[in-house]
Subunit: 146 residues, 2 copies
DNA sequence: TATTGTTATACTCTATAACTATA
DNA sequence: TATAGTTATAGAGTATAACAATA
């Protein structure tokens, strides 16, 4: 293994462990304990990208269309999304987030950010260490896009 | 809000987004597609900390004892753990990972590290950027410990 | 015929309540 | 009585197979 390959693998191992541990801690914070990870992910996707069909949502979340149909049923019963018939292709259904759904996502994000900010505060990082974390965040997002 | 509070919250937001996106990508890599996140977490905990009781495992994973009992049933049927009666307190059962269970964890870690190393490679980071990621990994683990 | 979505059915993971065995 | 674990039962999330409506 070359020196640069070794650096790559060492970085990968460190970053994998750190990412899983932090994600696990943050995932516990959410606006409603009854919301599943998938429900939150669907709402967050709709909030970012606007209305989507069942198939598109299923593909985004890597689950099947019947599973997504069932998830959307649950969200619709809670008033967090609405199904809108597609006028151009009447086989399709557009799923749209409601104001209540948007608020659930926003509140979950607020709680996670507050939790993480409090965790960062307790460690008492220097300005330089905080800067390193922000630089790394940008790098991590570039990695995750690939 | 003070300047340092603002830095804390900006860092928290960046890091939350980056962490969730990367964790989500990496979680899909595992030694067996049939293994659930909880099953993997239990195996990984047993591999690190040695034999544990059902109650201790349930507490670690933040699930109830009946749920953990069921998870352990599944792992035992697959030959990945064994139940060992506790001689000192015969109400207790010690759960121990088998060689096959250890291998599942090791293989999952290998796959995730290889996936992440390949992702890092595709972005073509400089040595300095890789160093930033490794420094940040250490900082993230300190944060997650709190 | 092919595509979009739903319904039917089954399995896993989770919970709470009730039970057994042991302390 | 209290604790450790299991069993019984139910609800949510997932899958595959079969179906209905539309293109």
């Amino acid at each position: 293994m070359s020196e640069s390959d070794e650096a790559l693998h060492l970085t990968a191992t460190d970053l994998r462990m750190a990412t899983f541990r932090l994600a696990r801690r943050l995932r516990s914070a959410r606006a409603a304990d009854s919301m599943s990870d998938t429900q939150l992910a669907v709402l967050a996707g709709l909030r970012m990208h606007g209305r989507r069909t069942i198939s598109a949502l299923a593909e985004s979340e890597h689950i099947t269309a019947p599973s997504m149909s069932s998830i959307v049923n649950g969200l619709e019963e809670q008033g967090l999304v609405v199904r809108i018939p597609d006028e151009d292709d009447r086989r399709r259904v557009q799923v749209e987030i409601t104001a209540a759904g948007t608020e659930i996502v926003a509140e979950t994000i607020r709680r996670r950010d507050h939790l993480l900010a409090a965790m960062l505060d307790r460690v008492d990082f220097t300005a330089e260490e905080l800067a390193t974390l922000r630089e790394a965040s940008a790098l991590m997002r570039r990695v995750a896009e690939r």
